[in-house]
């Protein structure tokens, strides 16, 4: 639409045509008392200087922001170029300036990569390089490709298109809303219409992960630690815009971690996980070892490691059973562990 065409439209007609504009118009308090069925041109004619000054309103600025918003949203919605089928890293250097010893590190949807290395070794920088879609312009000189191509700048700069979603232990819900209201708000911000079904799917996925179930009208701030984490994971899997999910350790308490990873990969996410817990690290398809600021090794999880994992899982299960037994007042016996 040209500027002239837009001016002939009313806010209401524009929202009907582009439902995503309702968020934009909600922020326009200069028109809060005006009739949204009138054309923009007519609305502008109603505004005197005092009204404009009160609301810090400027016609030219408004039109250019409206047009920006429509153009960006149209580019965003259903645009194939923003589907990520592959993310890859081309090597840079470590802190001593030595080149990283790999040709190309590839991440695909539905796969898990664990990241290991001591604190301060450069894990954060690696994740920051991915988030910033580095193009040889960070300390490490690494370059990130998306779908084997130079990424669109929008990945870097747009508020609506972030490559990486993050889940970490320090995160809490802070909004004063029920689970359903909260998910509806998130869905709305993602321009998902008809979110009812999706909300129910997220809640039931979260309930599968959490030990104790919660109801859709629990306040999010009243959820237990495990329930919050479960809801964050299910929501990130099913509703987050970002194709890459970074997990910074998931604590063992009150959540089924294996299922959590399955939900994320089941939704086509590329999962990166910083962890030193063998139970988690070995669930990954590959493992990156970081040392002295660089990627030191890339290890494919071996058949032996996979066998070991299933033994560790058995031991873990026994521990959990003993925990349950303890809780119910039982006396533990040696053969519970053997």
């Amino acid at each position: 639409m040209t500027q002239r065409e837009i001016l002939q439209q009313s806010p209401q007609a524009l929202i009907e045509k582009y439902p995503f504009l309702s968020a934009f118009f909600e922020g326009q308090h200069w028109m809060s008392k005006l009739n949204p069925e009138q054309s923009l041109a007519d609305l502008f004619a109603l505004i005197d200087d005092e009204h404009a000054e009160d609301h810090a309103f400027d016609v030219q600025e408004f039109i250019s922001q409206l047009m920006d918003f429509i153009a960006e949203m149209k580019a965003f919605i259903g645009n194939e170029t923003f589907q990520v089928h592959q993310l890859s890293i081309l090597p840079g250097t470590n802190k001593s300036g030595e080149p990283e010893g790999f040709e190309k590190l590839v991440f695909e949807p539905r796969t898990i990569t664990s990241i290991v290395g001591p604190t301060g070794s450069g894990k954060s920088r690696l994740l920051a390089d991915i988030e910033w879609v580095a193009q040889g312009d960070t300390q490490t000189q690494r370059r990130i490709l998306i779908n084997e191509e130079l990424p669109d700048n929008a990945w870097r700069f747009s508020g609506n298109r972030k490559l990486v979603a993050q889940l970490s232990q320090n995160m809490n819900f802070v909004m004063d809303l029920t689970v359903t209201e909260f998910l509806a708000l998130h869905a709305k911000s993602r321009m998902v219409t008809d979110s009812g079904d999706l909300i129910m799917r997220i809640i039931s996925a979260a309930n599968e992960l959490a030990g104790e179930k919660f109801s859709p009208d629990t306040a999010i701030t009243a959820l237990s630690g495990g329930q919050s984490r479960a809801l964050m994971i299910a929501d990130t899997a099913l509703l987050s815009q970002s194709p890459v999910v970074l997990i910074d350790e998931i604590e063992n308490a009150g959540i089924d971690r294996k299922k959590a990873l399955e939900i994320l990969t089941g939704e086509d996410k590329i999962v990166l996980m910083a962890t030193h817990d063998p139970l988690l690290a070995l669930m990954a398809d590959q493992r990156i070892v970081i040392k002295n600021g660089g990627i030191h090794r890339i290890i494919k999880t071996s058949a032996e490691e996979r066998t070991l994992l299933s033994e560790l899982e058995k031991a873990d299960l026994k521990q959990q059973q003993m925990r349950t037994a303890l809780r119910s007042g039982a006396v533990l016996q040696r053969d519970m562990y053997l």
């Binding site: 920051a128 988030e131 910033w132 919050s228």
Partner: protein
Amino acid sequence: MNLVTISGPPSSGKTAVILKAAENLKKRGLKVGAVKFDCLHTDDDLAYEKAGIPVKKGLSGSLCPDHYFVSNIEAVAAWGMEEGFDLLVSESAGLCNRCSPYIKEIKAVCVIDNLSGINTPRKIGPMLRMADIVVITKGDIVSQAEREVFAAGVYAVNPGAVIMHVNGLTGQGAYELSTLLFDERTKLDTLKGKKLRFSMPSALCSYCLGETRIGESYQMGNVRKMDIKNN
């Protein structure tokens, strides 16, 4: 010299973000200076000094801090050039939701935090709407969903801006921000003749000027009354 104006609600993380970004710029051998504008009190100058960043502070007292900013920024910029800074950062506490200290052709950054509430982006007016870069802080303590909802709220108010997440504590994102703050090709000679992005209202009623007494006879200047009957 480059000049960048940074504004945002109190405690949104402006000082923290500027310090982290400045650290990265100093590593590149660039000389960074700061000026802090506030109303009654600030300790930010101490934080800048401690980080080895030369700083000036201006307190507007009973005036709108943004009005005070415009009357003083030219002189402060001249100081910055005398000192030979590569980048002068001006930090203003966004206390007046109607004004904003942004100048045409001078990079404008708004810092806003994830904890400030979902309606904040809609409430804070030109300070957010007119910024070139919006920095969102405190993402480390809220959920991914809340970050996305908040960023979408910011985007709806200022779709043209670069929107970045920066952690003021760990500095995550600050290097990336620093690359946008300084541009070698930009050379500011003087602010004289430059214009504000948005006119500031003449909000000069007697209370702006320090009047404390209540009553019709003490009200002068630009005074407006509520319509109680038809409210």
